[in-house]
Amino acid sequence: MKKILLIIQREYLVRVRKKSFIITTLLFPLLYVGLIFGTAYMSEKGTTRLKIAVVDSSGKFTQARIDKENALDNSSTLVLLNENVDSLNKHFEDKGYDGYAVIPASTVIENRPDRIVIKSNRTLGLVSGVQIKLNNIWNEIKYEELGIDLEKRQLLNDSKLSVQAENMKDKGANGDIAAVIGYISGFLIYFILIIYGSQIMMGVMEEKTGRIAEIMVSSVKPFQMMMGKIIGIALVALTQFFLWIAFIFIIYNATKSGSVAGDSNVSQFVGGVQTVFTSVNVPLVVGMFAFYFLGGFFFYASLYAAIGSAVNEDMREAQSLSFPVTMIVIFAIFILMVAMKDPTGPLAVWGSIIPFTSPIVMMARIPYGVPGTVPYWQLGLSIVLLIATFILTAWFAGKIYRTGILMYGKKPTWKEIIKWALRK
């Protein structure tokens, strides 16, 4: 037992102290935040602000109304021109306009107005911004013509029908939030399985090709070696998790206590967190996440360890042998997508029970509620199966590892590997 602790300690420290670990741990949240803000910033800065000349044939669009809209949204500028369309057609570019639009005379409330076409000498891309602006102005005009005052307008705007699904067994569940939480947790497990699975494989290969295994087996049992490595790397993955969560809290607190305290984004976020806590059983989700994370990790890690022990130096061999395993993990992500939308469909149910995919798929279903969406028997069966499969896999992987780690030379076939696993 002391020896396995030593191995865990070594595997853990060697990886945590690596520069690449520190870099990915720090960079991942930064990249993530950067990606969100970056794309928002880019879409703000990176798009051209259209300047469009508007010729009004309907006689209803006034410059005052247009200016009011321009002030509210500066992504495009509309300018009312009283000019001959033919001359504008020739000179709109010289005057600094990206295009011009004619509001047809048919624009009246009684019939359906013709489509407004923005004419330009280049592709303007999406002009939805201009459409929204013109519609806002058109709404004002309509209200005015129909004699609807501000108060009635408010009533019309606010009075809407909304539709939401409700699970009668689990009243609190909120589909949207559950889907997001399920997606995030399932995806995190997927991410960790792929990244750390191959790390385990590489670690085992290093020990094999470096002939360290020969030295190690004269001190410890091969099974201890394998489990030590798997647990050590699982701890590395958990450390990374906790650091990321800590980062999120630090950033969250920093923004909360900072100058932006009154910012509507923050209060929205706080509100969002509260909704999450009221609509999702957080302790259950966190607990199940920990279980499926560890269960899935140990299950796949022993598979990857067995593969790593069977191959030689050649990376291509390792890739071709690990390909089927990686495929199953990727397959699980596809089932996750389905399960997010339809958490009680047969694919989601079976995907969350069969241990190959359950660690990822079940996480998409649990936030919808237990036992509302996931009945107790399904959850129980899934848990029992995962534990049983993990023990079985570790047992067989240990056998393969025991033989493979000391076997040099040609690449073993799947048949040979299975033979190793079944040897007593």
Partner: protein, 264 residues
């Protein structure tokens, strides 16, 4: 099988008179494989400490012993270096230290001298003698027969998985001797000896002879005869076969033997 690399087909292993128990007895065994088995990216000090702790040493004890050994092998400055920065010979020394650090009772060395310069070869050779003197059993495999002659007490020769020779070095040499002697004379080799019936001359040089004594004759008879003839002898010694010769004779005709014959 002792190191746990292979499974025995049949039979049992006894260690210290008791049935071998890998879990407990592994701490009494030190194994040094032919190829280097070290983490290339790990620091030397940490690595040695780790392997020593796996053999059951406490951290403090391991550190003290590592420092002793590193001092003795002039490796003290290596503590924070990585294995991949060391030359092959240096790695070999390190591997040797990790093998014997926990004072094993049984030390298994597979070709410990390959890649070492003469100075370090002697250093490790001396340590092996020292360990043996302190009561450790050293199992030592090599293809270099002169090393066997120098170091080993007891040898086993294995050819194609079969034991072909087993005994002490002295005994093996006695078993394979051909009654060859070298006689050196103070003057030129006398011709009279060729007629003697108790010996046959194998090789003649300027003032020495290599003779084969016929069976059931004694050395004294030969000496008596020469002295009686009035020749003065400078030296008379028996030529025991080298282990190299014995090795070749034992595995004669196999591809391996041909390789060694070419060497000579």
């Amino acid at each position: 099988m002792i190191t746990g690399i292979f499974y025995p087909d049949s039979g049992s292993i006894k260690f210290d008179g008791k049935s071998f128990d890998p879990a407990n007895d592994s701490s009494k065994i030190g194994y040094m494989p032919e190829e280097r088995g070290l983490y290339k990216k790990m620091k030397i000090g940490e690595q040695t400490l780790y392997l020593a702790q796996l053999k059951g040493l406490s951290k403090r004890e391991a550190v003290t012993r590592i420092n002793q050994w590193f001092d003795r092998f002039e490796m003290s400055t290596w503590w924070n270096k990585k294995v991949e920065d060391l030359s092959k010979g240096m790695q070999q020394k390190l591997q040797f230290v990790t093998t014997v650090l926990h004072n094993p009772k049984l030390i298994i060395l597979d070709e410990p001298f390959s890649g070492l310069d003469p100075v370090n070869t002697n250093l490790i050779k001396d340590e092996i003698f020292e360990l043996a003197k302190n009561g450790a059993t050293v199992i030592f495999s090599t293809h270099r027969m002169e090393q066997v002659e120098e170091i080993c007490d007891h040898i086993v020769l294995v050819n194609k998985g079969q034991k072909v020779l087993d005994g002490t070095v002295k005994q093996v040499k006695q078993d394979f001797k051909e009654n060859l002697f070298r006689i050196s004379f103070a003057q030129a080799v006398p011709n009279e000896l060729s007629g003697a019936d108790f010996l046959s001359i194998k090789k003649q040089e300027d003032n020495s002879l290599i003779i084969q004594r016929n069976e059931n004759r004694s050395n004294n008879e030969i000496l008596q005869y020469i002295i009686n003839q009035g020749f003065s002898i400078e030296s008379f010694n028996e030529l025991l076969p080298s282990l190299n010769d014995i090795f070749i004779r034992q595995v004669e005709g196999t591809p391996l033997a041909r390789r060694f014959q070419n060497l000579n």
